[in-house]
């Protein structure tokens, strides 16, 4: 008796799906639905503004007034503007020095962290801290460290008898530039170190064992095993680092605001200053657009120069 009542319940479980359920099971429909939010959002707030920015660079739009097409006038004006050229120079200089510094120190730190160490995971967590904390807030700390009157570094140097007077960190052009570059290196080391550490951990220990048996020195092991195996990751990390250093805004804006006398403006801070507080949207957009060729060049250079190795080894470029 009981088995007879159970049998119909068994067949009932399998229902015909409704029209809506069948629609959601249609693969083409599902692909469109799944891609729509992400692609729609990126199209509206990324691709469209990118195009709009290029268009704005050729107009004389200001805040509150629609611009008209002026052709290359903005660029002609900028090319005669020494402040713009200074910003271009400092952007390239800042990116070059900071990238070299970040990668030299970051690689060194990664090699140190790759050794056999006690409390390794805590160390790794501490090292990442400068990268987690909002850049503006650590930049404010650097601003206070670089204070002309109450700089802690000046105090230490005077106490140690190395200097007689306070160090002038941000009130003359060149010292301000070096101070900013140092702050950028400080902030960039953790990212480079942790990414490269991940790369180091993928290198098979048997390679080092083989090299040791062949009598390779530590330098030879680094030069012929570690470095070549690290190149693919190095290429990607460097591409990112160059792009985000070149377009950096926060550090310079918080520490010097482009001063003294416009000597530390990066292209991004100059674009902001002309565009938003200055109201010259067209001119600001032109400065921003002028960054694009540098970025494309830097990306292609670091990618092709460094990633070539990966293709030679025949790995899939996923």
């Amino acid at each position: 008796m009981s088995t007879a009542t159970a049998a119909p319940a068994w067949t009932k479980v399998r229902q015909q799906p409704g029209a809506l359920a069948r629609l959601f099971d249609n693969k083409a429909f599902l692909i469109v639905i799944c891609l729509l939010p992400a692609v729609g959002l990126l199209m509206t707030f990324l691709t469209y503004p990118l195009g709009l920015g290029v268009y704005l660079a050729f107009t004389d739009q200001t805040i509150g007034r629609r611009g008209i097409w002026v052709g290359f006038e903005n660029f002609e004006f900028l090319f005669e503007d020494p402040i713009f050229w200074n910003a271009v120079f400092f952007s390239v200089f800042y990116t070059a020095i900071a990238t070299v510094g970040k990668f030299a120190l970051g690689l060194w730190l990664a090699l140190l962290l790759n050794q056999h160490l006690p409390m390794k995971s805590i160390l790794r967590a501490i090292v990442l801290l400068p990268w987690i904390v909002p850049t503006v807030l650590s930049a404010i700390a650097f601003w206070w460290i670089y204070d002309p009157q109450f700089s802690i570094i000046s105090w230490m140097l005077i106490e140690l008898g190395i200097r007689e007077t306070n160090v002038d960190f941000i009130n003359s052009p060149w010292s301000a530039r070096w101070s900013l570059i140092w702050a950028n290196i400080w902030r960039g080391i953790p990212f480079v170190a942790i990414s490269l550490l991940a790369g180091l951990q993928t290198i098979s220990p048997s390679l080092y064992e083989a090299a040791l048996l062949d009598g390779a020195t530590p330098w030879q092991r680094f030069r012929h095993i570690t470095f070549p195996m690290l190149l693919p990751i190095l290429a990607i990390v460097m591409t990112f680092s160059i792009i985000f250093t070149f377009t950096d805004f926060q550090l310079v804006y918080s520490i010097t605001r482009g001063g003294p006398v416009n000597s530390t403006h990066l292209m991004a801070t100059l674009a902001f200053q002309r565009g938003i507080p200055g109201g010259q949207l067209g001119e600001g957009a032109a400065i921003a657009v002028a960054m694009i060729p540098f970025l494309v060049f830097a990306t292609l250079f670091s990618y092709f120069a460094l990633a070539r190795r990966k293709w030679q080894q025949g790995e899939s470029n996923d």
Binding site: P49, L112, M267
Partner: protein, 300 residues
Amino acid sequence: MSDVAASPGNTNTASAAPEMMAWDSKSRRVVTLYVPLACFLIILLFPFYWMTVTAFKPNAELYNFAEHNPLWISSPTLDHIYHLLFRTAYPKWLWTTMLVAVASTFLSLLCSTLAAYAIQRLRFRGSQYVGLAIYLAYLVPPSILFIPLATMVVQLGLFDTPFALILVYPTFLVPFCTWLLIGYFKSIPYELEECALIDGATRLQILRRITLPLAVPGLISAGIFSFTLSWNEFIYALAFIQSSENKTVPVAILTELVTGDVYQWGALMAGALLGSLPVAIFYSFFVDYYVSSLTGAVKE
């Protein structure tokens, strides 16, 4: 990516053996390893130490290096923190920042989970090109976009509202999260989904009951990363928000606390410290997810 990130311990102990052979003398190990490492840690942490010390120092000590050792506090005070919490709009800024960070994180997680699922699991013709396009979107820096976005935000009537930030932040969060989640979905065996398909599950059921629960570590990593990135974002918040009460913490500290010629260093450092603490605490709970998302994204 995933197998390496999951087992860093094994590779280390294995690679340690040949290293130990080379570094036979202990003093050499101290000079080449511990001393540089200590220098790195001191340099990396010093600004935070200085920030903390300044935040708890009374003004009399702060500007008098002759009588007080600046590296230490003789009579700690909570004056600066009290000033910050009760005489400025700091709690309001903190609330706005939290709201914007949480909302934009949820929005971008939703978009990127669906997109990553479509690209990685519902394979279709040209799916890898969509993936590549989303990856390239990550390489477009905010410094290029903020001027045109500012004009768009004004036209949409969103200027000076948190909604502008909630809608704009996903532009740099979605590419990153999608990229990360594609990697996670890739590590989930396809056979599991095929079994479910044979059992008569619909695709949405598969996503909800099988793929998403298995991708939870990836979702957590992406969420933490998005939260930190939107908490730290500066240039959009600076350009799109004007009124004091709608500002986010990083912008407000720089524009509202820096007034006049005399900087209130104590209050500034207290603000910087309190603004960093939520992210730092949040981060310390999920360090492993964070590291694996960072390294996973680089290796993908």
